[in-house]
Amino acid sequence: MARFLLFNLLIISNFSLAKIASFDLCADQWLLSFAEPGQVAFLTPLSQDPSVSYFHSKAKNYRIQSPNIETLLSENVTVVLATNYINKSVQHLLEKQGIKVIVIPPIKNLNQLLFWANRIKKITLSKSEIILKLQSVKEDTPPTETALYIGIGGSSPGTETLVDQAINLAGFRNINTSKGWRYMGIESIITQNPDYIFTTGVGTKNYAFVNHPAYDKLTKSTIMPIAQNHTVCACPQSFVDFIKVLKNAKK
């Protein structure tokens, strides 16, 4: 208990005055979920792009900068939040200058999402209630309908992906049972004939894919476009809302 309190105290003392900068789009989403504009040194320009950023309109209240080493040093940033895309040499260079770099790994399930949500909440001293919403997400009755999500570049999520978990939590059975993201191809999808096909709708490939004449003739799938900014980055709010969108599609 004492250790836990000490750990929390350390976190609070370290980060209460922290000037946090984001290094990439997904780090933007985490900061937009938990941090106030005053705590954030800057977000990246992609945070305002509605096609990829879930919180694009909220991002307009924050400062925007390109996240290069020179900017980070000149802005006296104390913490940099990044995801796996950060170059290791850049990370070392920043750490050498005394900047704390927090790297969020690829999130594959709800537990990992909860873990990181708690951690970022502590760092930002946020009062957000999104963690409660995350904890209340539960699986409905056993899935009766099948679904497939076609993401960017035509690939679909299988097991050990957050999108797969969202599909299951929304009450569907994902027809892609392979591990990780995998490209399925029109022929495989047609023969498996899912009840629902959720697609980002953005991007030529996906559009051409679901508009292929073979789909019309063979499948009875309901094709639902879903904004791709729900699934580009793992972040608590977009995950909760994504499940809601999937459930609504079912209705």
Binding site: L46, V52, I152, Y183, T204, L218
Partner: protein
């Protein structure tokens, strides 16, 4: 004797192409062969065959034949063993047009704009070449201006990639540039077919001029063939068939370069004798590469341009070493 050998080679190539054609219809991620004879599931098999596999098989044939024919014509006309449609910049021009369409975002809602933009890119490039070389024509200028236009179009494509704000649109551009026939429909075939057929027709008419040119420019002119006229026909023909091909498939490398070299060893050096075999050879290579892309050996579908280059490059090196004595200076 020579005629017999030519006919025999055409027959063999045609048979190989036919086998690849059937293979392309039957091989894929899903085994449709048993379903074809099962009355319960043959509707699905038939639709997969007619709506998915037939269009891409036809496109592979058209694109491969166009690449092979253009390579043979350009190598004969420019008397340069490295000539292919890429060297005159038309492929890059078509690619630039299509990439521009993807980056502007309009293709997300009207996917048919990609081939249309591609054809527009090829036409503008060909028009540019035509205007420049109308005034300052000779074979070396054709190669040099072609290389310059090719570099310019490639650089502009890189600029679009470089300034692309959305990483996913950049990803889509890169994938498109790697070449693929996946997801193409009969509409794509109908869109590119007229341009390709007219292009083939124009290129076919240059065959006697090419034979005459192989004896030297002066001899060709004394026989009544104008080098400039032949060139103008070639540029229009290549622009039509390669522009339309790149517009529907993306960039597919090495076919136009390798196929004429392989077949020259078989059917001889006479340029006109090389045209039909190169069309058939191009069709065989693109068809077989497309079959490889969809073999159920890999999790993802390989890109066609990647496979043609993987097959073409080592084979080309093999040819160079095997026949280096025939090619003086290599």
């Amino acid at each position: 004797m020579q005629k017999n050998k030519y006919q025999k080679s055409i027959f063999i190539l045609f048979s190989m192409m036919f086998v690849c054609f059937i293979g392309s219809l039957l091989i894929g991620k899903v085994n449709i062969f048993p379903s074809l004879f099962d009355s319960k599931s043959n509707e699905m098999a038939f639709i997969i065959l007619s709506e998915i596999r037939l269009p891409r098989t036809l496109l592979a044939l058209l694109v491969g034949a166009s690449l092979g024919l253009s390579g043979a014509i350009l190598q004969g006309f420019l008397r340069n063993p490295l000539a292919e449609s890429g060297i005159v910049g038309i492929s890059s021009g078509a690619a630039l047009g299509s990439v521009l369409c993807i980056s502007l975002g309009v293709s997300a809602h009207f996917s048919f704009l990609i081939p249309l933009f591609g054809m527009a890119g090829a036409t503008i490039t060909a028009g540019f070449l035509y205007i420049i070389l109308k005034k300052y024509f000779n074979v070396y200028t054709v190669i040099l201006v072609g290389i310059a236009i090719n570099s310019l179009a490639s650089s502009l494509t890189s600029v679009i990639l470089n300034i692309s704000k959305n990483p996913y649109s950049a990803l889509e551009i890169i994938f498109w540039l790697l070449g693929s026939l996946e997801g193409r429909t009969m509409d794509h075939v109908i869109l590119c077919l007229p341009f390709i057929i007219v292009g083939w027709g124009i290129l076919w008419h240059t065959r006697q001029g090419l034979d005459a040119l192989s004896l030297g420019e002066e001899t060709a002119q004394s026989l009544g063939y104008s080098v400039k006229n032949t060139y103008q026909k070639i540029i229009v023909g290549v622009a039509l068939c390669i522009g339309a091909s790149v517009a529907v498939s993306g960039i597919i490398g090495f076919v136009g370069l390798v196929v004429p070299h392989i077949l020259r060893l078989w059917v001889g050096q006479k340029p006109s004798n090389l045209l039909v075999p190169s069309m058939l050879g191009g069709g065989i290579i693109v068809l077989s590469s497309d079959i490889i892309t969809r073999l159920p050996l890999w999790d993802t579908e390989l890109k066609l341009g990647v496979v043609t280059s993987l097959i073409g490059a080592p084979f080309f090196i093999h040819l160079i070493f095997k026949y280096r004595k025939k090619y003086a200076g290599i």
